[in-house]
């Protein structure tokens, strides 16, 4: 294990801890960007260059920027306001996280890498394209993801659309009764 790998791992854990532990949401989002940049570097190191670029563009450049927009629009940078209704959950959460980490480490310890991994070709889009657009490989999954994005767009539009107020008089009598019932 080289020095660069150790440094990357330390930076990843450190930034992740900041994301979870800091009380300022803007700091947390920035730490998340840092985390994504480091993880992109790790991807490069693992010969997944296209994925690393996408990681930076989509996650760091688009998603977290969206997060920041929301936090700033709502002036929600300070999280520790109001009363904590589940104060005792922190310790079980820590214990649970440690336990999950423990079992995962244990599981990885029993995992042995395959003897002859496939040729990665540097993880460039020239290598990934045929995989993505071949029906025997990932084409349908790609189409499905496209559909998912369409749904997400519509859902986001509907969610934020302001409520329309229907005049009472236009409702038939039978529905009215139902409303009273509720």
């Amino acid at each position: 294990m080289s020095f660069a790998e150790l440094l990357a791992a330390a930076l990843l854990i450190l930034s992740a801890l900041v994301v979870v532990r800091t009380s300022n949401a803007v700091h947390a989002a920035l730490a998340l960007i840092a985390n994504f940049l480091v993880i992109a570097a790790v991807y490069v190191g693992l010969e997944a260059r296209f994925v690393a670029m996408t990681q930076v563009i989509v996650y760091a450049g688009a998603i977290v920027v969206l997060f920041l927009f929301v936090i700033m629009l709502l002036s929600a940078a300070q999280a520790n306001v109001g009363k904590d209704l589940l104060p005792g959950l922190q310790i079980p959460a820590i214990l649970g996280s440690v336990a999950l980490a423990g079992v995962l480490v244990y599981a990885l310890g029993r995992f042995s890498a395959p003897a002859n991994p496939g040729v990665l070709n540097g993880g460039l889009p020239q290598a990934l394209g045929p995989l993505l657009y071949t029906p025997e490989k990932w084409l349908y999954a790609l189409l499905l993801v496209g559909f998912l994005l369409l749904v997400a767009t519509i859902a986001a539009v509907v969610l934020v659309e302001p409520e329309r107020i229907v005049p009472e008089a236009s409702k038939p009598a039978s529905e009215e009764k139902e409303l009273v019932g509720r």
Partner: protein, 619 residues
């Protein structure tokens, strides 16, 4: 024996009367239902006699039930019963036209009466045990309906229920007995069973004697219930709640003799089973003694006669138990005459006194009722066993048969005969002698009630002469006639001297007891009895506490058990309900996991993930 469709017609005639009178009887004017009912019974009697004169008849529907034909047979034994049932039944029908005059249930009464006759004929004519059982239950039903005929009185309804329930206990024995026979022999036809069990006058070789014993005993339990033997005797005195013709027809002349008939019809089961027959003798002896002792304390004119019926039925069972089956049927015959006569004389007295049944308010009827007094006297003397009357001959035949069985049994039966003479005189003296102690204006019954009694009087006087003992130089008509169908042991007849000695002893005892009773109970009429006898009468009036014992040992524990079972049932149900509430409470507990805090759910997710990975890795 010929096969003829006329045989079921004997049964169908009164059944038709039941249907017609039951459906349209209310539209008929007063005497019409009674006339129709009587005529139909007379038709049955004549048809039965005609068929019997041609040597009997049989008729069957082969595939009534799988393996069980609906078969009827008219032979000498069932012929005798047809004569008793339809003959005496006809007289009682005619009597009832007068007795039930202006009763609001006039047509209903005759409808039930015809139903009874039809069921009784099914019982006696049935050639397979299930058919007999139909009649057996049918007469029980008719008895239930007729005891509770005046259903507005609570006591009548209770008596009817008691009679039905006690009879059902016996019927269970009958059913189980049939089950045993079916299981072991695969047929319930009486003639086929007889071929299988006792083809040559003794048990076939290799027959399962234990099964036959069990079946015979269980059938005997049925007979105990129907014939009101100890310990199932409690219903018969209470059955006097019905109208008097009912008591005469059902609870004296016919239905209660069905048990004796059953033993005689199935004599091929009993004749080679000394153990079972010993029980028959024992039960019969106890009943004879118990009924006689209970008759002394009764104050109801009909209950005195009812207990005497109990006692006489005991006599018949003793006769059947000692193997003298023809003697049992002989006593059935004579008893049908004199007991029907006694009941109908009692009915005439009750009729004369406007419904009064208490003998303490009677007396002096000798002067008021010129015809009924003769009927009552003949009936009481025949019951008491006055020599040369019918009761004397049949009782003497029973005593002779008991003497052959055991001297002790003979002595007890002789003692009972003396008691019978005493209480029959008590009945007669309290009703007819002395001064009238009531306030009604007694009047003699109409001709429609006296004429049947005239005929029954003739029967009581002369019926005994069909079965005279062999030492009297006259032919015994009944014994060879009945022994054509009843299994019987060929045995040495008693020496002439012994037979004469028995006859003389029984005659002397009867005469002495009749005279002594006549004198003794004049004192009761006058209210001057010795103190010990009054105490005895008090116990006797309450039937020696049989009902109290039944209530304490059976009725109340059963009621308690029913209550306990009912409560236990409720407890069981609430237990199941509680089990349901357990799952409900469990659901409530699980619902409390739904806190509504996303973090809490995430924690659950985390735990699940840890566990799943752990399980997946370790496995």
């Amino acid at each position: 024996m010929q096969e003829t469709v006329l045989l079921p017609l004997i049964i169908l005639l009164p059944l038709l009367g039941f249907a017609v009178l039951g459906l349209w009887g209310r539209r008929m004017a007063e005497p019409v239902p009674g006339v129709v009912a009587s005529a139909l019974v007379l038709g049955s009697l004549l048809l039965g006699l005609a068929l019997l004169a041609q040597g009997g008849a049989k008729w069957a529907v082969e595939d009534w039930l799988p393996g069980v034909p609906l078969s009827f047979a008219l032979d000498n034994l069932s012929g005798l019963m047809v004569m008793v049932v339809a003959g005496v039944g006809f007289l009682i029908h005619v009597y009832a036209i007068g007795y039930m005059h202006s009763d609001p249930g006039f047509s209903r009464f005759f409808s039930y009466f015809n139903l009874f006759i039809a069921a009784m004929l099914v019982l006696v004519l049935g050639d397979s045990l299930p058919v007999v059982f139909i009649g057996w239950e049918g007469v029980g039903l008719a008895s239930y309906l007729l005891i509770g005929f005046w259903y507005t009185e609570r006591v009548n309804a209770d008596s009817a229920r008691k009679a039905f329930i006690v009879n059902r206990i016996g019927d269970l024995g009958f059913l189980l007995g049939m089950g045993v026979l079916w299981a072991h022999f695969g047929t319930l036809s009486i003639s086929e069973l007889r071929e299988l069990i006792a083809p040559e006058g003794e048990f076939a070789i290799g027959i399962n004697v234990a099964a036959v014993s069990l079946a015979a005993f269980l059938l005997f339990v049925g007979a105990i219930g129907k014939s009101a033997q100890v310990p199932l005797m409690v219903w018969l005195p209470d059955a006097m709640a019905g109208p008097t013709p009912v008591s005469a027809l059902i609870h004296a002349a016919t239905m209660v003799t069905a048990g004796v008939y059953l033993l005689c019809r199935n004599s091929f089961l009993y004749f080679d089973l000394p153990d079972v027959s010993f029980w028959v003798v024992l039960i019969g002896m106890l009943t004879a003694l118990y009924g006689a002792l209970c008759a002394f304390g009764q104050t109801d004119i009909k209950r005195i006669v009812a207990y005497s019926t109990l006692s006489q039925l005991g006599y018949m069972f003793v006769a059947a138990g000692v193997g003298a089956y023809w003697v049992a049927m002989f006593h059935v015959l004579t008893h049908a005459f004199f007991k029907a006569l006694l009941f109908m004389s009692s009915g005439a007295v009750i009729h004369a006194l406007g419904g009064e049944q208490d003998v303490r308010k009677m007396g002096g009827m000798w002067g008021y009722l010129p015809q009924t007094r003769i009927h009552g006297l003949v009936g009481a003397l025949a019951l008491g066993g006055l020599p040369l009357l019918s009761g004397f001959w049949s009782k003497d035949a029973i005593l002779a048969a008991s003497y052959e069985y055991s001297a002790l049994l003979w002595f007890v039966m002789l003692l009972t005969a003396a008691l019978t003479a005493l209480y029959s005189m008590r009945w007669f003296v309290l009703v007819f002698m002395g001064k009238y102690r009531g306030h009604e204006h007694p009047h003699e019954s109409p001709a429609v009630m006296t004429w049947p009694n005239h005929l029954l009087t003739l029967g009581s006087l002369f019926a005994g002469f069909v079965g005279l003992p062999y030492v009297v130089q006259s032919e015994n008509l009944l014994e060879p006639w009945l022994n054509k169908v009843i299994v019987h042991h060929e045995h040495e007849k008693l020496p002439v001297l012994d037979e004469w000695a028995l006859i003389v002893i029984s005659a002397v005892v009867a005469l002495g007891a009749l005279y002594y009773g006549y004198r003794f109970f004049q004192a009761e009429a006058a209210g001057k009895l010795p103190a010990w006898f009054t105490r005895f009468q008090e116990a006797s009036l309450r039937s020696f506490y049989a009902d109290e014992v039944y209530n304490a040992l059976l009725v109340r524990p059963l009621k308690g058990l029913a209550k306990i079972l009912f409560d236990a049932d409720g407890g069981l149900l609430s237990g199941f309900w509680w089990l349901g509430s357990v799952t409900g409470n469990l659901g409530g507990l699980l619902a409390r996991l739904e806190t509504g805090y996303l973090r809490f759910y995430a924690a659950g997710l985390l735990i699940a993930a840890v566990l799943l990975v752990l399980v997946g890795v370790i496995r």
